[in-house]
């Protein structure tokens, strides 16, 4: 098959999959967006810390926590206007952890609502439940 025919068949497959937004595009951009957001936050946080203190050393542990408490505490701090380099770095880590989690959640809804494939809705549901459970661990 030549390339234009390939492109044509791919486009056809895409439009059959329901509109312009198929699962591959959706997942691809969730992963890309999440990682870029995380890297931008980490880089900004580190640079800000360096500008303020003149060194890069930044050593703090997150107290034993789970992802949801961690995200809630960070958002609370951001809303209270207490912006610091450390907060940006914590938000960067949170964005990174939420990236694959969001990917699984969106896939589950896609299989359930768009493809109406119950088998894969159950599979992604199992993955989502195990992840949610593990992210609630403390």
């Amino acid at each position: 098959m030549n390339q234009s025919a390939q492109a044509e068949s791919r486009e056809k497959a895409q439009s059959e999959a329901g509109g312009g937004l198929d699962i591959e595009t959706l997942i691809g951009y969730i992963l890309l967006g999440g990682v870029l957001l995380s890297l931008a936050l980490l880089l900004t946080g580190l640079s800000w810390h360096w500008v303020m203190t003149g060194h890069l050393r930044l050593d703090f542990l997150i107290a034993k926590t789970n992802l949801f408490q961690f995200v809630r505490a960070d958002i609370g701090q951001a809303l209270s206007g207490d912006w610091r380099p450390g907060l940006l770095i914590k938000l960067g880590i949170a964005a990174l952890l939420l990236t694959p989690y969001t990917r699984v959640l969106v896939s589950m809804f896609y299989f359930a609502l768009v493809e109406r494939n119950w088998k894969y809705t159950v599979f992604t549901g199992v993955v989502f439940s195990i992840l949610t459970y593990s992210l609630l661990l403390q």
């Binding site: 580190l46 050593d59 034993k64 880590i93 990174l96 990236t99 195990i130 661990l137």
Partner: protein
């Protein structure tokens, strides 16, 4: 350890990891422990960085429609369970067995790399009923060969449980364990190697997230240390991916065989001798 040194180590680890296709963790963890970081903290920081490199690479492969999402989502059920068990074992384990395990996995990877043939011919066997029920098949455009490749998976009943083991090692040692995942998808389930590597890449992200959740709950994640490591590994991996096309395969392979052997023996000896 200074942030600058941490960044530099991660940059080199990400670079070697991408160039060899083995991921950053296998170099990162031995190097961090060599410079005095506790192995459990090194494992925890490494597994967070694995999420970044895996998701970054997967985003491109998924959009190129080479990754088989159904294969990925079926196998993820097994790898995340394995990763949770693996990470829990690490928390409970003493340091020395972790060094020994890491050394053994590196030497195992050495053997796999040494024995690897470039293209593994796939003998066609009939697709079993379970794999057909799972809809594990697909096609992708091979741009180099300018053709569409169709394929059917097989033996999913065997591949799934094996992936539990790959996930266990990933969670236990804080690495992607991509080589192991590729081995299962490629050899056991019979998918083309391009599909195996890209699908393994997608699975690595959620598997690492499951492992991370355990280390987060244990208070082992240090954002101040994780930030330069994540940035370093990702930038190193980007450079490594760019350079990969310019080096001959043989040079990369030989280089990595040496790196794996040195790191494997070193980790093993540190575990056996104690005095970490």
């Amino acid at each position: 350890m200074s942030t600058e040194l941490l960044f530099l180590i991660s940059l080199v680890a990400g670079f070697i990891g991408a160039m060899s296709g083995m991921g950053g963790g296998v170099v990162l963890i031995p190097a961090l422990t060599f410079f005095g970081m506790d192995i459990k903290h090194a494992i925890a920081v490494s597994i967070v960085s694995v999420i970044a490199t895996s998701s970054g690479a997967a985003s491109a492969y998924v959009r190129d429609r080479i990754t088989n999402l159904k294969v990925g989502m079926f196998l993820e059920m097994f790898t995340i369970t394995g990763a949770l068990v693996g990470a829990a074992i690490t928390l409970a384990a003493a340091q020395r067995p972790l060094f020994i395990m890491f050394g053994l996995v590196l030497l195992g990877a050495w053997v796999a790399l040494f024995l690897r043939r470039d293209a593994m011919p796939q003998a066609f066997t009939r697709q079993d009923a379970f794999t057909r029920w799972l809809e594990l098949e697909g096609q992708y455009d091979d741009q180099a060969a300018q053709q569409t490749v169709s394929y059917h998976g097989r033996r999913a009943y065997f591949g799934g449980p094996l992936m539990f083991g790959a996930g266990l090692i990933a969670g236990l040692l804080g690495i992607g364990a991509g080589a192991l995942k590729v081995l299962v998808i490629d050899l056991v389930m019979g998918l083309p190697s391009k599909v195996s590597t890209t699908t393994s890449n997608l699975i690595i992200g959620v598997t690492a997230l499951a492992g991370t959740s355990v280390y987060l709950a244990a208070g082992l994640i240090n954002p101040g240390l994780a930030a330069p490591v994540i940035l370093g590994v990702v930038i190193g991996a980007l450079i490594g991916t760019r350079l990969l096309v310019r080096l001959t395969n043989r040079a990369v392979r030989l280089f990595f065989l040496i790196v794996l052997a040195v790191l494997g023996v070193e980790m093993l000896l540190r575990g056996i001798r104690g005095g970490l």
